[in-house]
């Protein structure tokens, strides 16, 4: 046993040696789900941030130093994330981009805050993340309450009266469902159904039958795309023609593959703009570069928002003329106004939330394309 422990200790020791590197670069951390259920998002985040760093370094880096991106895998899991955060703090990063899931981000927040390292999350939309008064936490993603507001508004504009709300009991989906529910009730909409499905199953006919019994004008599903695809597919099998509206977690090309084009036709969802719908010149140029390098578009807007987080950090370091966490955070809070991000202008409010409206409404057409709607 003793021997085996020594081997382990030695292996851990090697880890330290590797971590102690040179200090003539500015290190920016990226915490992303490189493995696990959200690995495709994490891969996209990494590709975008690394390409941006490459381009910035070609322009001379920041503060006259080259930028080094240090990526750590959070596995899409809170406990792995807290270890990833510990690793990044010990590697001397100036600031951190990431991550995707809200509960995953939450597990890392306190660690960065206590270490005085600014963190800009890209996919974490849970409201409470910015309600804790953390000085060093920001996000380029919108908040769930904004999406909830947008959902209520869209249902209003489309003229639906009786609404069924279905979530999947995850933190994100439940939060969004609660938010939309409260807003629509206030406006006098009739909420005829509010319940959760079990994610990860195949057969949702039981739920659909129950939903149909409630006879809604529209169903708001706040969960993720795999379930949304199955719901649409099985809904079509039942010959039920009610429209579905989904949240941004259903913004994924696989939705149409799972549902089939015919069943997905007419499905609405809310989302920040798709990468290809970004209309600034900056975004168009960058996406062209990205496509040239990786021969594909970024997997989702969330990866692009990681790129925005990275750009904001670089701007913060340049603006504060320092790689010190406190200075960067101070600059981001006060001085960064209408910074030109890939996804539009970026400013942070006192809580670290992004100012301005980000959500758009999309509809799936007969070819399975996601078409931006003007409502």
């Amino acid at each position: 046993m003793k021997q085996k422990l020594w081997v382990l200790a030695a292996a851990l020791g090697l880890g330290i040696a590797a971590a102690a590197g040179a200090a003539d670069t500015v290190k920016i951390g990226l915490m992303a789900p490189m493995t696990g259920s959200w690995a495709s998002e994490g891969q996209g985040m990494k590709k975008i941030v690394e390409l941006l760093a490459e381009q910035q370094n070609a322009k001379g880096g920041v503060l006259g130093k080259q930028i080094e991106v240090v990526t750590e895998d959070d596995g899409g899991d809170p406990r792995t994330a807290s270890l990833a955060a510990q690793r990044l703090t010990t590697k001397g990063v100036a600031a951190v981009v990431g991550t995707y899931g809200s509960s995953v981000t939450e597990a890392s927040q306190a660690i960065y805050d206590e270490a005085g390292i600014p963190q800009i999350a890209n996919g974490s939309t849970a409201i409470r993340l910015t309600e804790k008064g953390l000085k060093h936490f920001f996000r380029t993603a919108p908040r769930d309450d904004e999406q909830g507001r947008m959902a209520a508004q869209t249902i209003d504009k489309l003229g639906f009266k009786k609404v069924a709300i279905l979530h999947d009991s995850t933190s994100y989906a439940k939060g969004l469902a609660d938010e939309a529910n409260a807003l629509m009730k206030k406006k006098g909409r009739d909420i005829v159904f509010f319940d959760a499905l079990t994610p990860g199953e195949r057969d949702y006919t039981t739920i659909l039958t129950k939903l149909k019994g409630a006879n809604p004008d529209v169903v708001l599903f706040t969960g993720y795309f795999p379930e949304a695809g199955l719901l649409l597919r099985q809904k079509k099998d039942m010959n039920w023609k009610v429209p579905f509206i989904g949240g941004d977690a259903t913004n994924n090309a696989d939705l149409v593959k799972i549902a089939g084009k015919e069943a997905a036709d007419g499905y609405y969802f809310l989302s920040p703009p798709q990468p290809q719908d970004l209309d600034t010149a900056d975004a168009k140029n960058f996406l062209a570069d990205y496509q040239k390098k990786h021969n594909e578009l970024p997997p989702s807007i969330w990866a692009v928002l990681a790129g925005d987080g990275f750009r904001a950090i670089v701007a913060g370091i340049a603006g504060a003329k320092s790689a010190d966490g406190g200075q960067i955070s101070g600059y981001l809070h006060k001085d960064l106004k209408n910074f030109s991000g890939l996804s539009g202008p970026i400013s942070f409010d006192a809580k670290g939330d992004r100012e301005g409206e980000v959500y758009r409404v999309y509809k799936v057409d007969g070819d399975g394309k996601f078409v931006l709607q003007k409502l």
Binding site: G200, T206, K212, P226, D237, N239, W240, D254, K257, E262
Partner: protein, 301 residues
């Protein structure tokens, strides 16, 4: 009332799949007294192999829908059966004389291993069957919507179960399986090659699990490498519900569990659906550990 019957048919369709998988559990348990935890993953392999064969060989394009799917089903059954036999050889046979815990742990290890092999090969993302394979038609009977494919799935399941039942009850090989299930030593004395019986059980059970996987893939379209776990747990519950080791029991248990789930979700709570299924399992084990159709056997002291 209409909604009640609709939910009933929903439950039966899901239950048919459970029953088909439950047969594999119940056969292995009958002969080896082992919970083959990896059985649910063999089901997943059926779904993945089906997808790969379907897309790479373009069977339905070449042979048409019916013949294509039939050939595909036979191929999947064959491959998964071989996989099942290999599993028995590698993970269970060396432990035949070991304490029960060893075999259970090995089974669990095999399950984790199979599942993650699949993940490394295909990736962690959902895989999607092409959506234009099956004819989409929905029957409307007295106001009940019955998608044609669901009806076919239940029919195919029941057909296979009946065939298996007749095979076990009426053929000589089936008698050997039943004998080995009652007492392996006695069966051996009667000149039955118990190793071959066990091998056979590990061919037939996985073949049925594999075809269930293919049906799920074809009908639901979306598969993923962890799905065998949930289906496996449910199917095992079904096997216990019906009386483990008992083939009609697995059929009854599967269909019943599907219906309990559907009605529980409809009239008790959607969000607690799986908890309801597990409560049924625990209650059965407390109240009637032999299941609905099982017989009570005294423990040897």
């Amino acid at each position: 009332m209409e909604e009640f019957f609709q939910q009933l048919t929903n439950g039966l369709a899901v239950g048919g799949i459970y029953a088909l998988i439950a047969l594999g559990y119940t056969m292995v348990y009958g002969v080896l007294k082992l919970i083959n935890f990896a059985h649910g993953d063999l089901f997943t392999y059926g779904a993945y192999l089906g997808l790969t064969l379907l897309t790479s060989l373009a069977l339905t394009d070449r042979l048409g829908f019916a013949a294509g799917v039939l050939v595909l089903a036979l191929m999947v059954m064959g491959l998964v059966a071989v996989l099942g036999a290999l599993l028995e050889r590698a993970a269970y046979r060396p432990l035949r004389q070991s304490p029960r815990l060893s075999a259970v742990v090995s089974a669990l290890g095999a399950s984790i291993f199979l599942q993650n092999t699949l993940m490394l090969i295909y990736g962690a993302r959902f895989q999607v069957y092409p959506d234009n394979i099956l004819p989409a038609a929905t029957l409307n009977i007295f106001g009940l919507y019955l998608p044609l494919m669901r009806v076919l799935i239940v029919l195919a399941s029941v057909l296979m179960m009946v065939a298996l039942y007749l095979f076990i009850q009426k053929t000589k090989i089936g008698t050997a399986i039943r004998a080995a299930a009652i007492d392996q030593d006695a069966a051996r004395l009667m000149g039955i090659d118990v190793n071959r019986v066990i091998m056979l059980v590990f061919l037939v059970g996985p073949a049925l699990g594999g075809i269930a996987g293919l049906m799920v893939g074809l009908y639901y379209g979306q598969i993923n490498f962890t799905m065998g776990w949930v289906y496996g747990m449910k199917a095992f519950t079904a096997a216990i519900l019906g009386g483990i080791g008992n083939i009609p029991g697995a059929m009854v248990g599967g269909l019943l569990l599907g219906v309990i789930e559907a009605l529980g979700a409809a009239y008790i709570s959607l969000a607690w659906k799986d908890a309801i299924a597990f409560c049924v399992l625990i209650l059965i084990l407390i109240v009637r550990p032999t299941g609905l159709l099982g017989e009570r056997v005294a423990d040897k002291v």
